[in-house]
């Protein structure tokens, strides 16, 4: 990122830029630091060297983006989000992610502690009948020997942020639902579900809402319902003191993290991830706040 862009983002004006600038400014989140391992030299290649000036890429991009733009315009006439209005108004459940074919795996990113020098492995593939997603690998919680990193051992599956035409950010609007419904089959290990919502200030960019996903293990599928009110706020792996409920109108990604310090192979099979409206659940937020310095 050039200093120009950095100064823009520092002042928090990136969000108000006209959308056509965005593909120029937003590379792969290069400003304010991807994680740089201790001892690794700083990457000083100028940003224009990282851009691929390629005619084929240009054609491809134009096709893709104008296709998306056309979809967006046409979908307006159908109804909200391209569905008829009565469907939109009456829906009580929505299946967000299901796995049909190889291209459905392209919406997901697998990462492990290899990025910080660990030795875990994780892969994702389609399960049986090509209708489920199987996340498997090996967990290894030996911290890297770089003198700074103290803990290691995680594997993550994370959905990609949805993008509209010309790489504008798009968000999921889940505000008409209050419960997350998953159908999974694990091997007895506890997982963590991470939901990242859109934030305004740059210091909130690591804010993530978490809750646990306990798997039973065994050959049977397991239906898990987690109310969104149970999700607690954490940032960079630390639970925050000040807890606020998750705002569901701009959700960016959902992720599954394993980090239970039990070294060995793991697997998690996901059938679908859906949202539903549990009318019996009225809780708004499960974690109350206390006064930090109470007057006794």
């Amino acid at each position: 990122m050039s200093p120009f862009c950095r100064s823009l983002t520092r002042r928090g004006r990136l969000l108000t830029l006209p959308p056509l600038f965005c593909p120029l400014l937003r590379g792969k989140k290069t400003f304010y630091g991807e994680y740089r391992r201790p001892g690794q030299p700083r990457d000083n290649t100028p940003p224009w060297k990282k851009i691929r000036f390629d005619f084929a890429k240009g054609v491809e991009g134009i096709q893709k983006h104008f296709g998306l733009l056309k979809d967006e315009i046409v979908q307006r006439f159908e109804g909200p989000e391209g569905r008829p209005l009565h469907e939109h108004l009456l829906e009580q459940t929505r299946v967000m992610w299901e796995f049909r074919g190889q291209e459905s795996l392209h919406q997901w990113v697998v990462s492990t502690d290899r990025e910080i020098g660990g030795r875990s492995e994780a892969y994702v593939k389609l399960g049986r009948n090509n209708t489920t997603c199987l996340l498997y690998g090996t967990l290894c919680s030996t911290p890297p020997r770089d003198g700074e990193t103290r803990y290691s051992g995680y594997c993550t599956l994370r959905s990609k942020q949805p993008l509209a035409s010309f790489d504008r950010k798009k968000h999921y609007d889940w505000s008409s639902f209050n419960t997350l419904h998953l159908r999974v089959r694990g091997d007895g290990r506890p997982w963590m579900i991470n939901i990242a919502a859109e934030t305004y200030f740059s210091h909130q960019q690591d804010d993530i809402y978490n809750y646990f996903l306990y798997t039973r293990g065994g050959p049977y599928w397991q239906d898990v319902k987690i109310p969104f009110s149970k999700f607690f706020l954490s940032s960079r792996g630390r639970i925050q003191d000040e807890q606020y409920c998750l705002w569901l109108d701009k959700v960016n990604t959902i992720g599954f993290t394993l980090g239970d310090k039990a070294d060995g192979p793991f697997q998690l099979e996901i059938d679908f991830i859906a949202l539903c409206n549990d009318r019996a659940h009225t809780e708004e937020f499960a974690y109350e706040l206390y006064k930090r310095n109470p007057e006794v």
């Binding site: 009565h86 459940t93 050959p219 310090k261």
Partner: protein, 438 residues
Amino acid sequence: MRCARSLVRIQSLRALTAAAGGTVQPAATRKAPHARSLIAHEPCGQALRSLHTACVLLKNRPVATDYQEKSEREGEAAKSLVTYDDLFERAALEAKTKATFNQVLDVFIKRDIRRRGHVEFIYAALRKMPEFGVERDLEVYNKLLDVFPKEIFVPRNYIQRMFNHYPRQQECGVQVLEQMENYGIMPNVQTKVLLVQIFGEKSHPVRKYQRLLYWFPRFKHANPFPVPHQLPQDPVDLARFSLSRIANDLDARVTVYQLPYTDVCETGEEVTQPYVVGIQSPDQRHLLAKHNPSRPVFVEGPFPLWLRKTCVYYYVLRADPLPPEEKVEEPVDPERCFYYPLQLELDLERDLGDDDSFDVDEVDEGPVFAMCMAGRGDQATLAKWISGLQETNPILGRTATVFRLESGVRELQSAAEPEPEARPGEEEEELQSRGVKQ
């Protein structure tokens, strides 16, 4: 606290007068013999001194002892860079137990009233805790926090309170609490009293303590499938526990088909028989009774199941999914339950938005008939399970059983492609033919 300090001061004065009299009593005689082996440097004739004693008192000490002490300390420091690991290693030669760990802490506490180098000592102790097997012991953590000198790091005015007062010590205290957090140990009131005494009311360690106390009870019972910290030692009990966990059916019955035993036969060889424990629910038995005997059933496995940090393996008896033309919708027998209808086809006034079902296809999988865990995963052992199952499920006698076993761990349901070599009527064992990871 104040009276304690004056007590210490009186004690130090008495010791000083003794030292001035020229009778430097050998301090080692007062200690137990095992303690002597632990301590290299004994505070020989050193007066117990409060932290706030004047420097004048320092000058009155006999020169000879001072010199001796100094040289000893230098010798110790030269030996290893991390001096306090040394203490633990010497204790570890004896035995790695809670008692020796506490002994080391006692030795450190008694060595020097000023607790010089306590931060390094606590870090070393934290590292050594899993080695001594005390990482889940709250008492030991409290004792470790007791190593910090009291009252010194408490901020006294608003400027100290505003800035990070004694940051290294506070970080160290937070680190102790963080290790407690990582092992899931809830601090108690004694911890709080210690932390308040050491660091003051609103210090970082006390905040950390408050966080632990806020979050731990919230997630204590979050797991709907709890696993005890101490898993049963007996493999049969462990198998019973894990099978009833994965069966997800309270009616399921665990059967022990074979207990583990070791026998010496006539030739003098030792014959060990592995345990075989199986589980089957009435529903599964019902499914198996309806199974078409011309289709084979499969014994598959081993599949992993994690119970905290231990991994156990189980085997599954299952069949291939039925082809769509053979599926029959069985009507529910209305006489199965007299108290309430099992099927209702009422056209109630459902609103348009009352459809709570999910728009997904069911995953088409074969039925599971039974599960088992065995001490050994070979075909002979599992055949005992199948023959045991035949007593309650006579259909198994007429059905071909195919063993699809692997030595490695494999994913559930990896048998996507029907196997050409799996002919009914012939038992086969596949070993490492299909790896989990391509």
